[in-house]
C-alpha cells in the first residue's frame, strides 16, 4: 500500500466482506459461533444504523422529487409532509427559463419627494434604477448579484405578494414593500445624495420583439407602465 488512505480503504473492504455473510444468515451466525452478547448487540445496532441511513436517504430523495416535480395528485395529497421536510433548507426550484423564458424587460424608475421647511414639496425627476444595473452588467465577466438579482428579485417578490394592486395585505407583502422601498431609497441617495421623505416607483414593462422583427426597425412598445404609491422612507430622511 502506498498510502494510509488506501490502507484504510482495504480495512473497510475487509469489514464489508463479513457484512453480506452475516446478513444472509443471521441466526446461523449467532448460534453456533457463540458471539458474545455485546458484539451481537453492536452488530444489531450497526445494522439498524445502516438501514436507517438508507431509509432517510430514500425518503429524502422521494420528498425532494415530489417537491420539484410539477404539482400532481401525490404531491398535493402529501403536501404538508413534503413541505415540513423540504422547507426551509432544501427548498429548490429548477424552472430555469421554463415553461417559457420571460419575454419582457422591466425598467424600474424612482423619484423622491422632500418636504421643505415651508411645507412646500419638492419632487425629484425620475431616476432609472435598472439602467444602472444594466450598465453594471455590461462588459462584465462576472456581474454582481446586486446588479442581476437584487432589484429584479425584489420586484418579483413584490408582485408575488401583492398581485395587481399595491395594498400590502399580508405580513410578507409589507416586508417586500419595505425591501423594495429601501433599495430604491438607498440607490437614489447614493446617486443624488441629499435627504428625502418619500419615494415613488414606476415600473415600465417592455416586451421583447418576436423573432424575425429586426431590432431597431420597430420601436418596442411599452406594454405596461405601473405607477406605485408614494412610500414614506426613514432611512434617508434628515
Amino acid at each position: 500500500m502506498s498510502s494510509g488512505i488506501d490502507a484504510a480503504d482495504v480495512e473497510e473492504i475487509q469489514q464489508s466482506d463479513s457484512g453480506p455473510a452475516t446478513q444472509e444468515c443471521p441466526d446461523a451466525m449467532a448460534a453456533p459461533s457463540g458471539l458474545p452478547r455485546g458484539a451481537r448487540a453492536r452488530k444489531a445496532g450497526l445494522y439498524t444504523a445502516v438501514v436507517l441511513c438508507l431509509a432517510v436517504s430514500v425518503v429524502h430523495v422521494i420528498l425532494v422529487f415530489l417537491h420539484v416535480a410539477p404539482a400532481n395528485t401525490v404531491s398535493r395529497r402529501y403536501s404538508p409532509l413534503i413541505n415540513a421536510w423540504v422547507y426551509p433548507f432544501f427548498e429548490q426550484n429548477w424552472r430555469l427559463f421554463a415553461p417559457d423564458p420571460e419575454s419582457v424587460n422591466r425598467k424600474i424608475l424612482a423619484r423622491t419627494a422632500h418636504t421643505g421647511s415651508g411645507g412646500s414639496v419638492q419632487v425629484s425627476p425620475w431616476f432609472d434604477l435598472t439602467a444602472v444595473d444594466r450598465s453594471a452588467v455590461e462588459h462584465q465577466v462576472f456581474p454582481s448579484h446586486t446588479a442581476q438579482n437584487m432589484l429584479r428579485r425584489a420586484w418579483a417578490g413584490y408582485v408575488d405578494s401583492h398581485g395587481g394592486d399595491d395594498e400590502s395585505r399580508t405580513e410578507r407583502a409589507l416586508m417586500m414593500q419595505k425591501y423594495l422601498s429601501n433599495i430604491a431609497a438607498d440607490r437614489v441617495a447614493a446617486h443624488n445624495g441629499g435627504t428625502f421623505d418619500f419615494v415613488q416607483l414606476r415600473v415600465v414593462t417592455v416586451s421583447v420583439a418576436a423573432p424575425g422583427t429586426r431590432v431597431g426597425s420597430r420601436p418596442s412598445t411599452p406594454v405596461e407602465s405601473r405607477l406605485l404609491p408614494w412610500w414614506k422612507v426613514t432611512r434617508h430622511a434628515k
Partner: protein, 396 residues
C-alpha cells in the same frame, strides 16, 4: 450448514433476490464510492464560493451586511417565519459582520484545500447556509445548488483525495514505515470497524442523494421546459438573449440571436439533454452528453454573465465521472505535457510528471480494485460506469 440447505431449497427468484440484496449491501457498506468525484465537488464548490465572496467584496455590506436594504430586522422577521438559521442574524454590528465574512473566506479556502475536511465541511455548510439565508432575495439557481451541495457534502468523505488531509495521512504512513500497529483490544477493534462501516454508509447515501439531486434538477428543468410553447417553437433562446440583465456582451448576444436556425437547434438540444440526462448516466452515452452540457454551461456563463451558476452546474456534473476517469487524468496531463515538452522541453514535463505520484491514485488503485470486486460484484454504482465502458473518448 442450515443456511446452505435453506439456500438450495429456495426458489430461483428468491435466490436471485437474496443475491441482489447481498450485492446491494456490499455496495452500500463495502467502500466509499467515487472518492475522486466527491473531492472534485469539494474543491469546486469551495473555490466557487471563495470566488463569489471575493467578487462581492465591494458589495458585501449591501448583500449580507447590516447596511443591506434587506435590513437585519427584515431578515429576523423572515427567519422567524421560515425557521432558517444564520450566524449573521446573531448580531447587527458591523464588526461582527466583517468577522463572519472573514470566517467565510477562510472556511471556503480551507474546505477547498481539504484541511480537517469533516470539520471544515460542517463549517462550510454553516457559512453557506448563513450567507444564503441572509440574502435570500438575491439568490439564483446557482446559489441554491451550492447550498444544497454544501449540506450534502457534510455527509461525504470528501477529503480522501487531492486534499491536505490525504497528504498528511500519506506522510504519516511513510513516517510510520514498517512499525507494526499496536495491538488493540477486540472491543476497540470492533468499535473502529463499526465506525468505518458507518462512515462508508453515510458517505454512500450522501453520494446517492447528490446524484439523485442532480438528476432531479435536470429532469425537472427539462420537464417544465417541455410545457413551454417557446421551447417547442424554438424561439426560447431568442427571448433569453434579449434579457437586458443577462446580456453582458450585447454584440455577441445580438450576433447569436441573428442565427435563427442555431437558436432553434440550441433550444431543442437543451430540452432533450435535460430530459435525457437521468437516463444516459449508466452507459457510455454519458460522455458525449456531459461534454455537451459542459459546452452549454460555458455558453451560459459567457453569453448570459452567469459564471457562478454555470460553475455550480459544471461541478455538479463532475459527480458522474468515475474514479477511473480521474485517475486517468494525470496520465492525460503527462501525455499533454510530453507533447508540449517535445516543443518546449523541461519545465512542462517536470511539472506534469511531478503531480502524478503525489496523488497516489493510479498506482494504488490496481490492488484495491482487485480486493473490491468480490464484494462489489457487478456494481453499477452511482458514479461508476459499467465495467465495459472505457475512459474518455478523446484519449488518442
Amino acid at each position: 450448514m442450515r443456511s446452505e440447505a435453506q439456500t438450495t431449497a429456495l426458489s430461483g427468484t428468491d435466490r436471485w433476490l437474496l443475491g441482489r440484496i447481498t450485492a446491494a449491501w456490499g455496495l452500500l457498506t463495502g467502500r466509499p464510492v467515487s472518492l475522486y468525484a466527491v473531492s472534485v465537488l469539494r474543491i469546486g464548490y469551495g473555490l466557487l464560493y471563495l470566488i463569489f465572496l471575493l467578487r462581492e467584496f465591494p458589495h458585501r455590506d449591501e448583500i449580507w451586511g447590516p447596511g443591506s436594504p434587506w435590513t437585519p430586522a427584515l431578515a429576523h422577521q423572515l427567519f422567524e417565519q421560515t425557521g432558517w438559521f444564520s450566524i449573521l442574524a446573531l448580531s447587527d454590528s458591523r464588526t461582527y459582520f466583517e468577522l463572519c465574512y472573514g470566517l467565510a473566506l477562510v472556511t471556503s479556502a480551507l474546505f477547498m484545500l481539504g484541511w480537517r475536511t469533516r470539520v471544515m465541511s460542517v463549517l462550510f455548510a454553516v457559512v453557506v447556509t448563513s450567507f444564503h439565508g441572509r440574502a435570500i432575495f438575491m439568490t439564483d439557481g446557482g446559489d441554491n445548488l451550492i447550498l444544497l451541495m454544501a449540506l450534502y457534502l457534510v455527509l461525504t468523505a470528501c477529503g480522501r483525495r487531492w486534499s491536505l488531509d490525504a497528504r498528511r495521512y500519506r506522510l504519516k504512513a511513510v513516517r510510520a514505515g514498517n512499525t507494526t500497529e499496536p495491538t488493540r483490544s477486540l472491543f476497540a477493534q470492533q468499535l473502529r470497524d463499526a465506525r468505518t462501516t458507518l462512515i462508508t454508509v453515510v458517505h454512500n447515501c450522501g453520494m446517492f442523494v447528490i446524484a439523485a439531486q442532480v438528476c432531479f434538477l435536470y429532469g425537472s428543468a427539462g420537464l417544465y421546459k417541455v410545457q413551454g410553447a417557446s421551447w417547442g417553437s424554438g424561439t426560447a433562446f431568442h427571448y433569453v438573449l434579449n434579457l437586458e440583465l443577462f446580456r453582458p456582451w450585447p454584440a455577441l448576444s445580438h450576433f447569436v440571436d441573428e442565427h435563427t436556425l442555431l437558436v432553434a437547434i440550441a433550444g431543442y438540444l437543451t430540452v432533450l439533454l435535460q430530459v435525457a440526462f437521468p437516463f444516459v448516466l449508466f452507459g457510455r452515452l454519458k460522455y458525449p452528453v456531459l461534454t455537451m452540457l459542459l459546452g452549454m454551461h460555458i455558453g451560459i456563463a459567457v453569453l448570459m454573465g452567469l459564471p457562478l451558476f454555470s460553475g455550480a452546474m459544471i461541478v455538479a456534473d463532475a459527480v458522474f465521472l468515475p474514479d477511473r476517469f480521474y485517475t486517468f487524468l494525470p496520465h492525460l496531463c503527462r501525455r499533454a505535457a510530453r507533447r508540449t515538452g517535445s516543443r518546449r522541453p523541461a519545465p512542462g514535463r517536470a511539472a506534469g510528471s511531478g503531480t502524478v505520484p503525489a496523488q497516489g491514485g493510479p498506482g494504488a488503485l490496481g490492488p484495491k480494485q482487485r480486493v473490491v470486486l468480490p464484494a462489489g460484484r457487478k456494481d453499477t454504482t452511482l458514479a461508476t460506469e459499467p465495467p465495459s465502458a472505457r475512459v474518455p473518448p478523446k484519449t488518442s
